[in-house]
């Protein structure tokens, strides 16, 4: 990088800095190469598509900004899918964070028994989202799965019905898949946070006569804040981008009631509209929204770690 040596800093220091820069960039080079080739280029292409009349079969037919964005805003599923995605995100986030922390508290101390428990909770995380969804698709099916039989035994649903039948129950059925698949993962993240809390803090609290709940509230929770915020960022981002599970379990149905935003992108591109331009426009909107949401959350994280 020739431009580096032009600085007004003393020669030796600048040389050392130049070496640092050169090495630093060299090690980051593979990372950058992948990002440029596989991330920046497609994103740039995405921008162009969002501003073009670009149908699935017909390809690029020239710029048409801002028609795609208007079409997205005018689509009646747009608002609906945002609301649904937010509802899903809130529920999943609450469940995963609470369960993650709860499980972590149960298995926190190292013992043979706890190791077994940990393994049980973590094992679902080893399955892929697609295979987990397929697995639950079979579990929920009225033909072969036990779920319908159990629920109808308790009189909670009709015989031969499916939990994926109504919007509400399909939402919860999907949430169960996600909670099953990801609880262990968040448990692990929480456990790590817990283990970073110095043991003598608990000791001191106990000496002061604090009960279990009191200790949890005034020692554990405040010190876990950075970990919780980090989990929050992952969980919110992941949930807003939810796709695989709905794609396999509900396809956005019944009657569009489980249509997430990403599912809608897919729907615009390949199903209802076959319009890559509209799909790209919606993708861009999602991208911008996520950047904003994450910026807010990250700020929260920074303030808390001070």
């Amino acid at each position: 990088m020739p431009s580096v040596s032009k600085g007004a800093v003393p020669e030796r220091k600048s040389k050392a800095r130049a070496a640092q820069t050169r090495r630093g960039l060299l090690y980051a080079l593979p990372d950058w190469a992948m990002i440029v080739l596989l991330f920046f280029v497609p994103i740039a292409l995405l921008f162009i598509m969002a501003c073009s009349r670009w149908s699935l079969m017909g390809g690029n037919r020239g710029l048409n900004f801002p028609d795609n964005f208007i079409a997205v805003f005018e689509n009646k599923l747009f608002g609906q899918s945002i609301l649904f995605t937010l509802e899903y995100t809130v529920i999943v986030t609450i469940f995963l964070l609470v369960l993650g922390l709860g499980l972590a508290l149960i298995v926190q101390e190292s013992s043979k028994w706890n190791n077994v428990l940990r393994t049980c909770f973590l094992l679902p995380s080893a399955t892929g989202l697609a295979s987990a969804s397929l697995l639950f698709y079979a579990l929920y099916s009225p033909q072969v799965g036990p779920v319908t039989k159990i629920l109808s035994f308790f009189g909670l649903m009709d015989q031969g019905g499916s939990v994926l039948a109504t919007g509400q129950s399909a939402l919860w059925a999907t949430i169960i898949v996600i909670v099953w698949r990801f609880s262990g993962y968040y448990m692990l993240l929480m456990m790590i946070g817990l283990q970073a809390i110095p043991g003598d803090l608990y000791e001191a609290a106990r000496m002061d006569g604090a009960g279990t709940w009191r200790i949890f509230r005034s020692v554990t929770l405040p010190l876990m804040k950075p970990t919780i915020v980090m989990c929050l960022v992952y969980c919110v981002t992941g949930s807003i981008l939810a796709f695989d599970q709905f794609f396999i379990l509900t396809k956005g149905g019944p009657n569009n009631s489980t249509m997430t935003v990403v599912q809608l992108i897919y729907n615009f591109a390949f199903d209802s509209k076959k319009d890559l331009g509209m799909a790209a426009a919606l993708s861009l909107l999602v991208l911008v929204a996520l950047v904003i949401i994450n910026a807010i959350q990250m700020r929260g994280m920074r303030d808390n770690t001070k």
Binding site: M1, S3, V4, T21, L25, W32, V36, L37, F40, V41, A44, L45, I48, S55, L56, M57, G58, G59, N60, L77, S141, P142, Q143, D158, Q159, G160, G161, S162, L164, A165, T166, K251, G252, G253, P254, N255, N256, M259, N267, A269, F270, D271, S272, K273, K274, L276
Partner: protein, 438 residues
């Protein structure tokens, strides 16, 4: 600063990178040369690729096997899951990597053809000796502005099937299926009244627009009514026939065991399974799945009856001429060889070998009339609904979005009419029109 340099380099790379794909995408549209193809195509040992969707895998495999056995050219078949077909075709179209021959759901073909992904075959198709015998719906579907792009690949029609065992139990004549919509409802209710565990009168794929058009349109056509205007830009689903059919299903939905459990939310993935498992009295059914029923019957399964789908008045029937049509893609580099496959399959011999001898439905009327002498009487019934010419294939560029797509306005229309309060047909029909007329 170094960062600036990096950024500049990145910007440069990105700019160059963007230009390449744009240049590549500039000239899509029918580019294959079809002018100098011999009438029978060329058979010179070329490998031809063929895509079709998964529901018709068995028939497609039979066709490809028979061709490969008797020709130097070899067809390589690729089966694409039904739901991913459009995405896959669209992606391949973007990258100019479509297969030589592309077969697709006939209701999707008008859109594909209008987007220019097929090569123009007007001259070749018009040059076929037996063009008049071929299933016209599949040729019409791929006709845009007078140019013909497609021929029938696999024909799938809808027929009414009933479970004779359940009919006997319900005290119905097991040899007589419904001849009007009213009779259909009456017979379904009789089976429902058996109050048997898991058994229901009929079944409907409430979340599958594709299965719903396949099941319900024929009754409307049988009455001489239409579902859309000629151009496919306006829905006419609020006619009295459609209303009568929907009211019939609503009556069943309101009856205990009238419609099989899961009807309302059936997405089409398992819509033929309840009948195949012997749990349903009577329902419209795809003929491509009938073969499996007949085989199960031979192995000791329940007895199946088949009759054409009736309208509201006795004596008139119709069917949905569905299945896959095929054309040669714009990206094919072996047009003459691909045409060899197409023209071969249109011939009576091939139709007999590939379809008739396997108990499937041919797309050539001459074959339908001649090659099924030893066949099951019910297979002849199925063939008759094609031969009689009452069947139709709906054609609209926006058909998929209006009818087939998940959550389409047509699907919502059915949900409201059958499981809702049933009084929003007019506004729901307008919602379908809104999509069709875009």
């Amino acid at each position: 600063m170094a960062f600036k340099n990096v950024a500049r380099t990145l910007a440069g790379v990105a700019a160059v990178a963007m230009l390449i794909p744009l240049a590549a995408c500039g000239g899509s549209g029918g580019t294959s040369q079809t002018a100098d193809i011999p009438a029978k195509g060329t058979d010179d040992g070329t490998t031809i690729t063929l895509w079709t969707r998964s529901p018709l895998e068995r028939q497609a495999k039979n066709a490809v096997q028979a061709y490969n056995k008797s020709h130097k050219n070899q067809v390589k078949l690729e089966i694409i899951p039904n739901d991913d077909m459009e995405g896959k075709v669209g992606g391949a179209s973007q990258t100019d990597s479509l297969p030589d021959i592309l077969a697709g759901d006939v209701v999707r073909i008008p859109y594909w053809a209008s987007e220019g992904i097929f090569a123009d075959l007007t001259e070749q198709i018009d040059g076929l000796d037996n063009k008049g015998d071929l299933q016209q719906g599949h040729i019409d579907a791929g006709t845009v502005d007078g140019k013909k792009y497609t021929l029938p690949f696999i024909t799938d029609v809808s027929v009414m099937v009933w479970n004779k065992n359940l009919y006997k139990e319900a005290g119905l004549d097991p040899e007589k299926g419904p001849s009007t919509v009213a009779e259909f409802v009456k017979q379904a209710k009789a089976v429902a009244n058996l109050n048997k565990d898991g058994v229901a009168g009929s079944y409907l794929a409430g979340q599958s627009g594709g299965a719903l058009v396949f099941d319900l349109f024929p009754s409307v056509w049988a009455d001489g009514e239409s579902v859309m205007n000629e151009d496919g830009t306006e829905a006419t689903l609020d006619n009295t026939s459609m209303k009568a059919v929907l009211d019939g299903y609503k009556e069943l939905a309101d009856t205990a065991n009238g419609l099989g459990a899961g009807s309302k939310e059936e997405t089409g993935a398992t819509w033929t399974a309840p009948f195949a498992n012997g749990k349903i009295g009577v329902m419209p059914y795809p003929n491509t799945s009938c073969t499996a029923l007949f085989e199960a019957e031979k192995d000791g399964g329940f007895e199946v009856g088949v009759t054409p789908i009736p309208g509201t008045k006795e004596g008139k029937t119709s069917t949905f001429l569905g299945g896959d049509a095929m054309g040669i893609s714009k990206d094919s580099k072996h047009v003459a060889q691909a045409w060899n496959f197409l023209s071969w399959l249109m011939g009576e011999d091939a139709q007999k070998e590939v379809f008739a001898d396997n108990g499937d439905t041919a797309s050539n009327i001459a074959t339908l009339k001649s090659a099924y002498d030893d066949a099951d009487a019910r297979v002849k019934t199925i063939n008759s609904v094609i031969i009689d010419g009452n069947g139709q294939t709906p054609k609209a560029v926006k058909f998929n979005e209006a009818f087939n797509a998940a959550g389409s306005p047509w699907q919502l229309l059915i949900q409201n009419a059958v499981w809702g309060n049933g009084d929003s047909l007019k506004t729901d029909n307008q919602a379908v029109t809104d999509v069709l007329s875009q």
